[in-house]
């Protein structure tokens, strides 16, 4: 029994051995430019090396390998942009062993100007002042300093015209919006249909700058009939609020409309 245990122990022990090999980066540098970089790698068994990667903070990129007898040359694929900053060169072999080397890389690329506005939505009840931040980034999203500044800041006063604007003409994501504020003048009127059906509607509701109020603005009709007060909620459509009076509400009553802080005229029907 003991003999069998010893044999089992030896088998387990010897089966746990490391088959990794030493891999070296021949032209290792602490800093390099990705456009020109060629990573020269050597190892005892070059055929065991399966892949070479560059890991930056946000991406993993597999390099193209050119094999020779003495070494392997790894290059970044054409057209591929790499994030500047601390990175790792990772060499993987057939047994999934990894050899890791640290360096700092950078890459020149096309730049893009960003114009960011805040807040993106303003209503005409507010001050209509907006912050503008302009900055430049590379395709790899690195900020490029201009005049030693990362970004420039301006405060803009916007026109009170309700519409959608763009900070940058060809970019839909840079849209910002001026929207109508509270309506200022509500005129309520009645239309009759048939003997008993009454419709009530407002004028074209606008804010103080003449912008039509936003679609879906809540309006509350109040109907006072003696001691009974009825509340009917509706929303605006194309700047107008309409309501068909329910059949069970019969004269006499008085009716008015409230939207936020604004009130309409009162109509008394006998």
């Amino acid at each position: 029994m003991r003999t069998y245990l010893y044999i089992l122990f030896i088998i387990l022990f010897t089966s746990c051995h490391d088959v990794s090999q030493k891999v070296s980066w021949l032209n290792q540098q602490p800093r390099l430019a990705y456009e020109k970089a060629v990573f020269e790698i050597s190892a005892k068994d070059l055929s065991a090396i399966e892949a070479v990667y560059i890991y930056t903070g946000i991406q993993a990129t597999e390099l193209e390998l050119v094999r020779s007898k003495k070494s392997i040359q790894a290059k970044t694929p054409k057209g591929k942009f790499l994030f500047s900053g601390p990175a790792r060169l990772i060499i993987k072999d057939k047994n999934n062993h990894l050899s890791i080397f640290k360096f700092i890389g950078n890459q020149k690329a096309r730049t893009e100007t960003k114009d960011f506005r805040s807040p993106k939505t303003l209503i005409t009840d507010s001050s209509l002042t907006q912050q503008q931040l302009v900055y430049t980034i590379t395709e790899a999203r690195n900020i490029v300093l201009k005049n030693n500044e990362a970004a420039s800041e301006l405060w803009k006063d916007l026109a009170p015209q309700a519409k959608t604007y763009r900070a940058q003409e060809n970019k839909a994501e840079t849209s910002f919006y001026v929207e109508a504020g509270s309506c200022s003048n509500i005129k309520l009127s009645q239309q009759k249909q048939g003997l008993n059906t009454s419709f009530f509607n407002t004028n074209q509701l606008k804010d103080q700058y003449g912008n039509q109020i936003t679609e879906g603005t809540k309006a509350i009709f109040y109907i006072q009939k003696g001691k009974e007060l009825t509340r009917i909620e509706r929303v605006s459509e194309d700047g107008i609020v309409k309501m068909k009076l329910p059949e069970h509400i019969q004269k006499p009553y008085s009716i008015w409309l409230e939207i936020g802080v604004a009130k309409s005229n009162k109509i008394a029907l006998n």
Binding site: M1, F116, S118, P119, K120, T121, I123, D125, S126, A172, E173, T174, E179, A180, S182, T214, E215, G216, T217, K218, A219, I220, I223, G226, K227, E228, L229, T230, R231, I232, E233, R234, V235, E237, P246, E247, H248, E258, I259, G260, V261
Partner: protein, 992 residues
């Protein structure tokens, strides 16, 4: 046949029977368990723990439940083994494999345990009885408690070694006993703490008794002999006891440290095993009758065998004590014996389980005797072999039917909701960073643990009650949030705390499988987002921040290593030692001279114990059949009404219809049609009946008038109803005369309603980065128009009026930061007296309760807003007349007209009250109990009780989205009562 030949035959038969038992385990439990485990109480919890070890073997911090708890609160071995199996098999299969293996170990353990008392043949019968024991079937297939089975399996295997150690004093017996006990300790804490006492003490007693050459007939002298033998064996006993205690402490030291540093201090959770089984028959059935059915039937024979020999005294004491303790609150004795604390923490069914285990050898002896011994001879002499065979067959068959009944317990009273497909929920949690918030489930039963097993998302709830420390859970007698309705008012209050204080625990999502909770979710500020492919509705609360990093509980590295390494090591050691022992040290049988094989029974036991099982099981099954199939539910007027309401409560409308008087003008179609038109609402749809009281008001020949008073539990409060029904007797049964139904006929044939849908586009730039700056939508602006601190009786509140000054619907969260004189600052949120979503330019109100636990230094009110896409339609056209308005009450007449194209399921109003100075003094939600259908009216009277309110002059700071603001002028100062619609609409209007 010579004695030697008899022994050899007995040994062979015993081993064969053991083999049969082991095969039976595979063929029965091995196959059935896969199908019963989804319906068990605990199987998923153990799989969740296994998943923890599978992911984080050496880290005991489990953050997915209760904002984090330590897994050192439960001995790890069982979970670690399932975790190891799960590396190869899926969890359910791993669980089944483990459970079957451990059941096999239990069968072997019972075989070896029985050999201490009887021959191998009887031990073989005991092994088969273990497969068929109702206590074990219930533990595995109803409870899913594999650690209990593991602990018992290994303990039974340890006991013969302990016995032999005391008798023969050979060290390898001690080593074997301790190795098995070590595994018990690492598997199940309750078996280690309590169970060992009921098994270890009797076996030591038995071993000492067996060493007495001539036992005294006098009981006290016999005890003195035992004491002397104990003194003679003191070294063995002390060595065993000391080493056991040392191992018990060392092997699961982190568990003891957790118990000491973080003791269980929660309010006792009610459990059926503590009920009085005479008054609560269903608890008695589940926790006493089912597990102990065969023991009760054979109690005379078992008691006789236990008390015949002095060596069995210890076992007799254990057995009867366990029977007594397992009876729960039926007598005051268990509470007196265990103490109030232990009584309220422990679930007492485990004592019945241990009694069942102890009884198995003795039941096996009687059954063997009945089939092949003195009892058989007794019957054959009296009724002949043929009738004895029939008696045996029918008894066995009736027991089998009883076992089948246990397997189908769930179909009579479902113990769990239907199986839920979890993949859609996993997909939901995995996308859009939903995992950054906590979630909760409602109506999932124990399947919530199955969901947790498959995700890294965190829940505020959990399924291991001993480990929870959240005050909202520990301060109330509630098991889980997820089945809060079954815990009555305390359960719902606990749930309300979590739903209203969601921000405190970063709780953002609720998966609801039970519409009972819909009104509570809605009125606590939750919105429906999507219905998943499996039918589960996802509710979401706005303005909840993401989970902050939590400092995990500190545990030394050595303890973590111990916890991860020792249990498995101990198990492997046990295997190796067992192998070694079987190869080199195994001797013959234990102590043949002490076996009770030649035991015969007195006649009364032969009669009673042979016939009682047949009578018991037959009567039991017959009672169930009669109850379910043959009872006349309409025997008396009051019973008719009670059963009618019961069927309605369980939504069994077709059954309820049959309680109506048969009338060709009132078909079932008419009934269902009328029901669909007039029903719906808080009580018909979202309530469970709590109590029902019926009273006969009048009788006239075959006619009766019955008044029925019912109390209904809803998630938003209790409601009472009183109704009067007319009944008539026909053909021996009572029938209800249906009431005439007058439907309101709406003026319109088509309803139309205009409202605007809003949709937040969300991420426009497709990128795995966090949201681009250009995609961030600004927080909508709200204006607070009134803000007061009011005092009502001894309570304080903050009431406010708020206007949506923006052009999009808003979801807001108002809360008060209250700094007390003791320096503590706590956050309080509104409960149901608020509308959380409102339309552009709409106004609403809120009320925040402020507990006055100490004098208040400062109050800051904050309002956070977010875009809302749903929940901003609140209901119908609301008309109110104030018939009288005094300082104490306002009598209101309310008329609601539903102008929406859908039913309003819970019509409600939000009332804002102002005093003579125009100050806001109260905000209150009132809900009506019946629905109002589209194009129909609902009229009701409501007496609004005014609280004695004082407006407290104290400056309040106000912040809106983090910026300090002033309170603007109120828009409704002149309205003494402002009444807004505040209804719950079940049908989703906002489609996305």
């Amino acid at each position: 046949m010579s004695l030697l030949d008899k022994n050899t035959l007995s040994n062979k038969s015993g081993r064969l029977l053991l083999l049969v038992a082991l095969c039976l385990v595979l063929l029965t439990h091995g196959i059935i368990l896969y199908f019963t485990l989804p319906k068990t109480y605990d199987a998923y919890v153990h799989m969740f723990f296994a998943d923890h070890y599978s992911r984080f073997w050496f880290d005991p911090n489990e953050y997915r439940w209760y904002t984090g708890f330590l897994t050192t609160s439960y001995p790890p071995l069982v979970h670690q083994l399932i975790a190891l199996l799960s590396k190869v098999f899926p969890y359910k299969i791993s669980f089944v494999i483990y459970a079957v293996v451990v059941y096999e170990a239990l069968v072997i353990g019972m075989y070896r345990f029985t050999k201490l008392f009887f021959s191998k043949e009887i031990a073989g019968v005991a092994a088969i009885l273990t497969v068929l024991s109702t206590a074990l079937i219930e533990t595995v297939h109803v409870y899913g408690q594999v650690p209990t089975i593991t602990g018992m399996a290994l303990l039974l295997n340890a006991i013969p070694f302990l016995y032999l150690f005391i008798i023969k004093r050979k060290p390898y017996y001690l080593v074997m006993a301790l190795s098995f006990i070590s595994v018990v300790v690492c598997s199940h804490h309750v078996t280690a703490i309590f169970g060992m006492v009921f098994f270890i003490a009797p076996v030591i007693f038995m071993a000492l008794a067996d060493q007495i050459e001539t036992a005294s007939t006098n009981f006290w002298k016999f005890l003195i002999q035992i004491f002397k033998k104990a003194l003679a064996s003191w070294k063995q006993i002390v060595l065993f006891g000391g080493l056991t205690i040392f191992l018990a402490i060392t092997l699961i030291l982190p568990y003891w440290l957790w118990s000491k540093n973080d003791p269980i201090t929660q309010v006792s959770i009610p459990h059926g095993s503590r009920d009085n089984f005479l008054t609560n028959l269903s608890s008695g059935l589940v926790f006493y009758i089912i597990p102990l059915a065969l023991i009760i039937a054979l109690i005379l024979a078992v008691s006789y065998l236990l008390t015949r020999k002095k060596r069995n005294i210890g076992w007799a004491v254990s057995f009867f004590l366990c029977l007594l303790l397992g009876s729960g609150g039926t007598t005051p004795l268990p509470k007196l014996m265990l103490g109030e604390n232990a009584f309220n923490i422990l679930t007492l069914d485990r004592f019945g389980f241990w009694a069942a285990i102890i009884a198995i050898p003795f039941m096996a002896k009687f059954i063997y005797s009945f089939l092949n011994g003195s009892v058989k001879e007794f019957w054959v002499k009296r009724i002949g072999e043929r009738y004895h065979f029939s008696l045996a067959g029918i008894s066995g068959f009736s027991y089998l039917i009883f076992i089948v009944f246990i397997f189908h317990l769930g179909s009579f009273r479902p113990l769990q909701p239907k199986e839920i497909e979890i993949q859609p929920m996993l997909n939901f949690l995995n996308r859009d960073d939903h995992i950054r918030w906590r979630f909760m489930t409602l109506g999932f039963g124990d399947q919530m643990a199955w969901l947790s097993t498959h995700t890294l998302a965190a829940s505020v709830d959990g399924n291991y009650h001993s480990a929870r420390r959240l005050p909202e859970l520990t301060s109330r007698p509630i098991e889980r949030l997820e089945n809060a309705k079954f815990a009555g008012d305390p359960g719902l209050e606990s749930l309300k705390d979590f739903l209203t204080q969601a921000e405190k625990y970063n709780l953002k999502y609720v998966f609801s499988n039970d519409r009972y909770y819909d009104p509570l979710l809605f009125y606590s500020g939750w919105n429906r987002t999507i219905r998943l492919e499996n039918g589960i509705m996802v509710w979401e609360k706005g303005n909840i921040s993401t989970i902050k990093p939590i400092q995990p509980k500190e545990l030394s590295e050595n303890l973590k290593l111990m916890w991860g390494i020792l249990p498995i090591t101990v198990l492997m050691l046990c295997f190796i030692l067992t192998f070694y022992y079987l190869k080199y040290y195994k001797e013959g049988d234990y102590n043949n001279s002490k076996l009770q094989d030649t035991q015969t029974f007195p006649n009364y036991i032969n009669y009673v114990s042979s016939l009682l099982p047949l009578a018991f099981f037959t009567i039991f099954i017959a009672y169930q059949v009669v109850n379910i199939l043959l009872t006349n539910e309409q025997k008396t007027p009051t019973k008719t009404v009670e059963n009618f309401y019961n069927h309605l409560d369980f939504q069994e409308f077709e059954k309820a219809y049959h309680f109506y008087k048969k009338d060709p003008t009132y078909s079932i179609h008419q009934y269902l049609l009328e029901k669909s038109v007039k029903d719906g609402g808080l009580l018909p749809t979202y309530a469970k009946m709590n109590t029902i009281v019926t009273k006969e008001l009048s009788q006239k020949g075959d006619k009766r008038t019955v008044e029925v008073s019912a109390n209904w539990n809803t998630a938003v409060g209790n409601h009472n109803t009183i109704d009067t029904l007319q009944l008539v007797k026909e053909n021996g049964s009572w029938y209800i005369i249906p009431k005439k139904f007058e439907a309101e006929i709406p003026e319109e044939q088509m309803m139309q309603y205009d409202f605007t849908l809003f949709k937040k586009i969300g991420k426009r730039i497709i990128s795995s980065f966090t949201t681009e700056k250009d995609d961030r939508i600004k927080k909508p602006f709200v204006s607070v128009r009134s803000l007061e601190i009011i005092q009502q009786d001894s309570n304080q509140y903050i009431v406010g009026e708020i206007l949506n000054a923006d052009n999009i619907p808003v979801n807001y969260l108002a809360y008060a930061n209250v700094t007390y004189a003791n320096g503590k600052t706590l956050k309080y949120f509104p409960r149901m007296d608020a509308q959380y979503n409102f339309s552009p330019k709409a106004t609403t109100y809120f009320k925040i309760p402020i507990p006055v636990t100490d004098s208040i230094k400062e109050i800051t009110v904050a309002v956070d807003t977010d875009v809302s896409e749903k929940g901003y339609l609140h209901g119908c056209i609301t008309s109110h007349t104030i018939n009288s308005n005094t300082d104490q009450v306002a009598k209101l007449e309310l008329k609601l007209f539903n102008d929406l194209p859908t039913n309003i399921n819970v019509p409600g109003i939000l009332i804002a009250e102002r005093n003579k100075n125009g100050q806001l003094v109260n905000v209150k939600t009132h809900l009506h109990k019946t629905a109002v259908r589209s194009a129909q009216h609902l009229t009701f009277k409501y007496t609004y009780k005014k609280e004695t309110t004082e407006v407290i002059t104290q400056s309040l700071k106000l912040f809106v989205n983090g910026a300090e603001r002033n309170v603007d002028n109120s828009l409704n100062k002149n309205k003494s009562l402002d009444i807004l619609p505040h209804s719950f609409i079940a049908e989703e209007l906002y489609f996305h």
